[in-house]
Subunit: 357 residues, 4 copies
């Protein structure tokens, strides 16, 4: 259950304050040139300390590949990798060893496993997503050859949200601001808001949207492997995610069938759709239109305020978190959403090759 995917498979390991985060990528196609700068840049997008609105932790997060790449090219053998943990302040967590932090996994891990590494959230730390970003970066290198492009962005932070459809924005410019929002004005408001929330020692959630362009027709495996079901699982496996919708999602309920349906037409010899309310997926299979979906992130559970809680013996106590934490995960979640999307699409692309003899 620490493995993601069917053909392309990422198995990840590592705790926040252990020696390293790492993983094994199996099923990666042979013969793909591995662009190390690209991979490291993807990690930089996820890295803490990248701007004033993220946690102040500084981690190099340099990936070290141990196998599966020979002379800069993937060999088809499993790709092992590690990212060493170098900037852990485990002492920050000493006062939490026997205390259950509210809305964290401390209580459930302790109950399930009977033991837990309390330092920095242990296995349930968002630091685990490093392995996903490495896997996603490799997947992107393969998808790039297929012309599949994935762009995620922050579409809502607390009360601030994009008021138009993604087609209204220049998705090439999400890296122009630290929030990763394509509306540069709104991005500034979001950043100010996050900065203010941070000052309060509080946190805030939001929505990451994601758009896939250039996806070929035919990805998705009915009935339980519908493409959007796989994407949904992928997104819901990211820390702090509470919801997923694709196409018009929960908004579909306001429309009647006659209004919601996407109409086919003949576009100079090509079958196309006049609208894309389906979000690029019909019957669980990609139809060649843009795939788009939204992912809801709750506010970070660690607030720098006093909160009542209990310890492992059930005694009520007051917790005051220390440590360096994100007031809002959205900006750093963007590359993680992209990574999970990339791995899902590459996996389904490879699976689809087995549809015919």
């Amino acid at each position: 259950m620490n493995t993601f995917g069917n053909i392309f498979r990422l198995t990840s390991f590592g705790e926040s304050h252990g020696k390293a985060i790492g993983g094994v990528i199996d099923g990666f196609p042979a013969g793909i040139a591995i662009d190390m700068d690209f991979i490291q840049n993807e990690l930089a997008r996820r890295r803490p300390g990248q701007s004033a609105i993220t946690t102040a932790r500084k981690e190099a997060d340099a990936v070290e590949f141990l196998s599966g790449i020979y002379e800069g090219v993937s060999t088809g053998c499993p790709i092992g990798f590690v990212v060493w943990n170098t900037n852990q302040h485990s002492n920050d967590y000493d006062n939490m060893k026997e205390v259950f932090r509210p809305s964290h996994s401390d209580y459930t891990y302790t109950q399930k496993y009977g033991i837990r590494d309390h330092r920095g959230g242990g296995r349930s730390s968002a630091r685990e997503t490093i392995a996903r970003v490495v896997g996603g970066a490799l997947a992107k290198l393969a998808l790039r050859q297929l012309g599949i492009r994935i762009t995620a962005f922050t579409s809502q932070v607390g009360p601030f949200k994009l008021d138009k459809d993604y087609t209204a924005y220049d998705l090439e410019r999400i890296e122009d601001n630290p929030v990763r929002c394509p509306d540069q004005e709104l991005a500034k408001e979001m950043a100010d808001y996050i900065f203010k929330i941070k000052g309060e020692g509080n946190t805030i959630g939001g929505v990451v949207s994601c758009v896939v362009k250039g996806c070929p027709i035919g990805l998705g495996e009915p009935v339980f492997g519908k493409l959007h079901a796989a994407l949904g699982q992928a997104m819901l496996s990211i820390n702090a995610v509470k919801g997923f919708e694709y196409g018009r999602g929960f908004g579909d309920m306001e429309m009647k069938g006659s209004e919601q349906n996407d109409i086919f037409y003949n576009d100079n010899g090509h079958i196309r759709l006049r609208t894309n309310r389906s979000g690029g997926i019909q019957g669980g299979i990609s139809n060649g239109e843009d795939i788009y979906f939204r992912v809801a992130f709750k506010p970070v559970a660690t607030v720098l305020m006093e909160q009542p809680t209990v310890d492992i013996n059930g005694n009520e106590t007051i917790l005051k978190a220390r440590g360096r934490h994100d007031p809002c995960v959205l900006p750093r979640a963007v590359p993680i959403v992209e990574a999970m999307t990339a791995m899902t699409l590459l996996d389904f692309y490879l699976l689809n090759k087995t549809t015919h003899l």
Copy 2:
């Protein structure tokens, strides 16, 4: 990819207008008494023709078990079953053989497989969910012994929605109206609305909510097998589902961390939570509180109106659907949501048994 689950596994087969829908349930625990009446009743809840607001098709949907049960008790061997298709009007679909119905899977199946059984949607028909309801009914029989109770209900139809939290309603009474809504007054409005929509030859979507009570602590397998990620995939694999959220879901974005966190306290020696905004799952693992989530269904794609479309050669044409269709899938989706939930929970219950030696 027609298999659902890890330990408890349902593999389903069958097309809408083929000989039968069926499946194999593997990994079902040995020694469970099989209550046939209960299973058949679950199928009756899913069956078409059960009320004036569903399709007029009449199908007995009687399940025939072929293996794995001996003298009324599960043997631990795979349980094969079939539900024969007896009331198919395949001719209703003759005019669709070479036409792509809007917002159906006709186009994507044809592109992916190069061949498709066009009758009644073939494999992509919601009739496939019969196998899920059988699997879910068996899972419920096992979960019942564990004290785990699952209740889904219609919480929204088009513009009509429940305005209170599920705790405000009597969930024992969802079967008291054909919409399966716990608010009897609202149910009547919903039914009237569906009836009106049906008269227009149109369709409408909505939301099914689901509540799990009595779930033990510890179900869920970090990091990719988080319980809510598995539930999300399960729900998104149901036909017409466009979104999934658990706990406060997309609503979490409006709250700050200090407001959203659930606070632990000592309830006469038991560790409990003062609120349940987390929806019964923390860190991907059940925490013993009620699990609740919401599932968005789009309006049924088949409307009894003329719609422009194209045929398999790309020629534009006008489609006028015939056949007997649901104006709103919500009432019949309720038992399907419950079934997928039951199978997911039983699977994770069994998985959790392997956490310790």
Copy 3:
């Protein structure tokens, strides 16, 4: 665990004296013409009562496909099928309900599951292999298009064994005798021996050999998915199999490395091997030479003689088996070995398609 394969997957169900044996084949490529006569003929090769040296049971073993085939062609959707049990004499087993038959699975099933269908061996009956033969027949239809040909044959029955390498025999003639041995003279001796053993109420084991011609280079997935490891598992999953060896197998121990190695040479521009001691597989991957392996079957456990045993309460008793049983499974095992080989090769052929983008 009732599922075989990775991409091509057979999930089987059914007990000897239940309603039916059946299964679901998932991942079968779309667009393959389904030759029903061929499939039924494969079942006829496995069927009891086909000659004087097999059990006297007469079973039609007619397969009924329920899905996944439309107008004679596979659709890429799961193929459900059943073979009804029609000639069961369950009363033959009444005296065994509470008795553990020696060297059968009665004791272990009872211990593991706490319940068992005692009639005819229940799930552990060799009748379960019907589902494998159906799956194998479908796989053969696909492999035929790829030019891959599988031939198994009886190479040993008790003390009677082929004394030459498979290349010395005409493998086209294995169906010319009821033992399915390519040496027609030896076949007669084997048949006489089996007939004599049958007259004693006793049973005898032997070896089935299998040769695959036309297998493309590249099938096999290191390190745990080596082609011969998958074939070994497939064979060892057949009832009564006690051993598997490929290439020279256990015979390799007598040779030194310098004698055992296969030497490459240039055969008019093609790289070939002067010998094939490796059995067509090197490093777990097919090398384009003939694949060959041997499978050891123990004597059938059911002998028509008095045997001491115990009942479910531990009381010692004398068992005298009734019923209609094979004195030697080898002739009927030949198509089963072929079926498992076919499914394994098709699965690995499909897997291999994902090696490159």
Copy 4:
């Protein structure tokens, strides 16, 4: 396909001359004390250079755990580990970069992947088994708590073989000689023979036998997950293995059913078997008796003699291997056979916990 197991899962990575061999163990039970000395000792048993009859390479093979263990106890989270490659003489292989070594995987890897790391066999090197020994050592720590004991030993080297059943030997004494043979006299003959073969620059194969004591009744998952089928796959996935048999294996063919059957009796209230020809497994499920099986290893393909072969362009050439190689893998294969057995048994032990609710 670089993952082994169902619940307990080892995913391995690494090439002989890459940075490291390593892996991730997922599904290891929580709460097991990790005895580092024991694990390191298991690696020492596999290590090259341990005696005069193994390769002269000296590798420390020190394992470094990166996750999943906290304060000396397993946490239930994935256990990542690496063993750094420190003593590689990659130059030894320079002359093999473009040459296919006979009976190695060079040719098939190149054909399948289009690229290969030629140094030391790359991924197909037996050095990969380091990851298996680490996984096996952890599994043994868990099995020890269950009273399950696994002992493998060399039972044949070339023409020298044990002439009695395993019960005739003291299995506690296999470590008393470098061949790991329980017959100390024969061990000396074997060692002399290997030393002589080594002097010739040649190699020799043999058989490793394995005995499991204390295995509880009920491990094994019919029909495709029979315990011996899983053990067979596990053994056949080890480099150089050509055959597997359990119980009397290929020897069963000489006996009639009445002679081969194991008879049950009542041993002071316990159901026992008078003989154990079945090898501890009936119907694919362990029956509580000793499990025993035999594994055939071919001679090492690398001989220090001139051999004709071809290069990647098909040109015929003469290869003279350099490097440090084993004349006989048997002594070092013993701990690998034990490791694969341990992982298989732990996996099936955990799976068996899901048989009942």
